[in-house]
């Protein structure tokens, strides 16, 4: 230890600095969790873990660890790796006294992506300078205990590459992440959260991609979208059926760019004067991210497709370019010009 001794004059200067420096809250609050250095596991990698030799957890903690693995698998909403207990697994979960968690750690991890991870939990009853560790699962859930399943889920988030979430100044968004700088005890908010928070999921989606094209994007994200519109014909005779096809894709960065976005609601709008009104809800087609609908055309009109953001996911509204469909009066001849092509006499 080699601290600087601060002189009185230095203190005066520092006090002035203290009055001027700092900002009220971290600017990145409510953003997706930061990312740990060191790379990632492969998409959907199946990570199998076993109990460390000499460190097999007691039954209640084994249940908590396996529960946390299930929690991670079920709530990742991404192609992040999954965790499964396997007595022959190459990754280890260790419970006991000899853990590399520093003097104050409840639990800790080591990750060597994409190859290996280890996870350690301190033993129940461990005495710190500041208190005694009580795992809820082993002590009947008294106030002040730590929920092992929650703590292990936090560690598994780290294994997947998540760093601690940056909270609002008053921690009012604590529930938005399980991967937190400090762990809450019962009964404080989030103490027994058994699913990843939306800002944990956001980073998992950014790093590993969404689980499927219909998976909702985390509301901790704000991903732009892109909507396009085409028509089978833009010059038709009245009464002809035109099929409109819209495509909806993500326009974010990295993994979240150019993803088809399936299973949403895309509406075809028609312009009337200066006003656009909903004309037809397009149905999802067999191609992910495509939506189609057909109508018999009666008059020339301008059309566009709109995807409207909903409150249940973190993507933006987008509107396609306008497609004009020109409609001419129906012909009474045997062969109409439109049906034989522009070169027809």
């Amino acid at each position: 230890m080699n601290p600087i001794r601060v002189t009185s004059s230095a203190v005066t200067a520092l006090a002035l600095v203290a009055a001027l420096a700092g900002s009220p809250a971290p600017a990145s609050a409510h953003a997706p969790d930061p990312v740990l250095s060191g790379g990632l596991f492969a998409q959907n990698a199946a990570l199998r873990y076993r109990w460390g030799t000499g460190g097999t957890p007691p039954s209640a903690i084994r249940t908590a660890v396996n529960g946390a693995a299930d929690d991670s698998n079920a709530s990742r909403r991404s192609k992040a790796a999954t965790f499964t207990y396997d007595s022959g697994g190459s990754n280890t979960v260790y419970y006991g006294v000899d853990v590399p968690c520093g003097v104050n750690g409840l639990a800790c991890f080591r990750r060597d992506a994409p190859t290996w991870f280890g996870l350690w939990l301190r033993e129940n009853g461990h005495r710190y300078d500041w208190g005694v560790l009580r795992w809820c699962e082993m002590n009947g859930d008294p106030d002040g205990c730590y929920d092992a399943e929650n703590v292990v889920l936090d560690e598994l988030g780290h294994v997947l590459g998540l760093d601690h979430h940056v909270n609002y100044a008053d921690d009012s968004d604590y529930a938005d992440a399980v991967v937190q700088t400090y762990t809450h005890t019962k009964p404080r908010v989030g103490w027994n959260a058994h699913v990843f928070g939306r800002c944990d999921i956001a980073t998992l989606q950014q790093q590993y991609d969404v689980a499927s094209w219909s998976t909702p994007y985390s509301t901790c994200l704000d991903v732009p979208t892109r909507t396009t519109l085409t028509a089978t014909s833009t010059d038709v005779v009245a009464g002809s059926v035109v099929t409109f096809t819209a495509t909806l894709t993500s326009a974010g960065s990295g993994r979240l760019s150019n993803n088809p976005i399936a299973g949403r609601v895309v509406v075809l709008q028609l312009r009337s004067g200066t006003t656009w009104t909903d004309f037809l809800t397009l149905a999802p087609s067999v191609t992910s991210g495509s939506y189609t609908g057909s109508r018999a055309m009666r008059a020339t009109g301008d059309y566009r497709a709109v995807y409207r953001k909903t409150s249940s996911e973190g993507v933006r509204t987008s509107t396609s370019a306008t497609v004009t469909v020109a409609v001419t009066a129906g012909c009474t001849q045997v062969i109409c010009p439109q049906s034989v092509g522009p070169q027809a006499p």
Binding site: M1, N2, P3, I4, R5, V6, T7, V11, L14, V17, A18, A21, G22, S23, P24, A25, P26, A27, P34, V35, L36, S37, G38, T53, G54, G55, G88, G89, S90, N91, T92, V99, P100, C101, G102, V103, N104, G105, L106, A107, C108, F109, R110, R111, T115, W116, G118, Y128, D129, W130, G144, D163, H164, A169, D170, D171, Q180, T181, Y182, T183
Partner: protein
């Protein structure tokens, strides 16, 4: 068995520790608090990746770098070392609670406090949070200061009582650590 997997502070820059100015009152320089980066051993046989599948075992180093020690200088207690809480450091990480160390540091209301790091590492982003301590536990944070400058600065709360102070610093390469103190603000 027994290669120890200790967490030790990285070899830092030569010379004096970095001053993180949190605002302090001058006082005697004594050291207190637990060693934040103490070595805690784990048997290789217990924790290492003993492979039973095609995945090659990953050798575990006997020693890995960890966060620096952090101290504050303030009030009559002099320099007081903080308790290391959660950290993530080069593939290793630990999680813990908001620690309320048993020994409180007396500080005048609103007094400036300074933090030193040993070894000196330049913060990339920092946040200092104050939470009221009731019955030995910290409540929700009541005030936060943050910044990106090398000199981290805050002042002690004006309201008297016992306060928990958390200083969380993010360093280069995604390294991050939080330290805790218990502060007594005199009426």
């Amino acid at each position: 068995m027994s290669s120890m997997t200790g967490i030790v502070p990285p070899r830092g820059l030569p010379g004096a520790a970095l001053v993180i100015a949190l605002a302090i009152a001058p006082g005697a320089c004594t050291s207190a608090g637990a060693t934040p980066a103490a070595a805690v051993g784990a048997p290789t046989t217990a924790a290492g990746p003993t492979a039973t599948t095609s995945v090659a075992p990953t050798p575990r180093p006997t020693e890995v770098p960890g966060p620096p020690r952090a101290s504050i200088a303030g009030g009559s207690a002099g320099i007081v070392q903080g308790e290391l809480g959660a950290f993530t450091w080069d593939g290793l990480g630990s999680d813990g609670p908001w620690i309320v160390p048993p020994g409180s540091v007396p500080v005048a209301a609103g007094a400036p406090i300074t933090v030193t790091l040993d070894p000196a590492l330049a913060p990339g982003r920092w946040a200092a949070r104050w939470a009221p301590v009731v019955a030995g536990s910290a409540g929700d944070p009541a005030a936060t200061r943050s910044g990106t400058d090398a000199a981290v600065t805050v002042a002690a709360p004006v309201a008297p009582g016992t306060w928990g102070l958390q200083v969380e610093i993010t360093f280069a390469e995604g390294r991050q650590a939080a330290w805790y103190w218990s502060i007594d603000v005199a009426p």
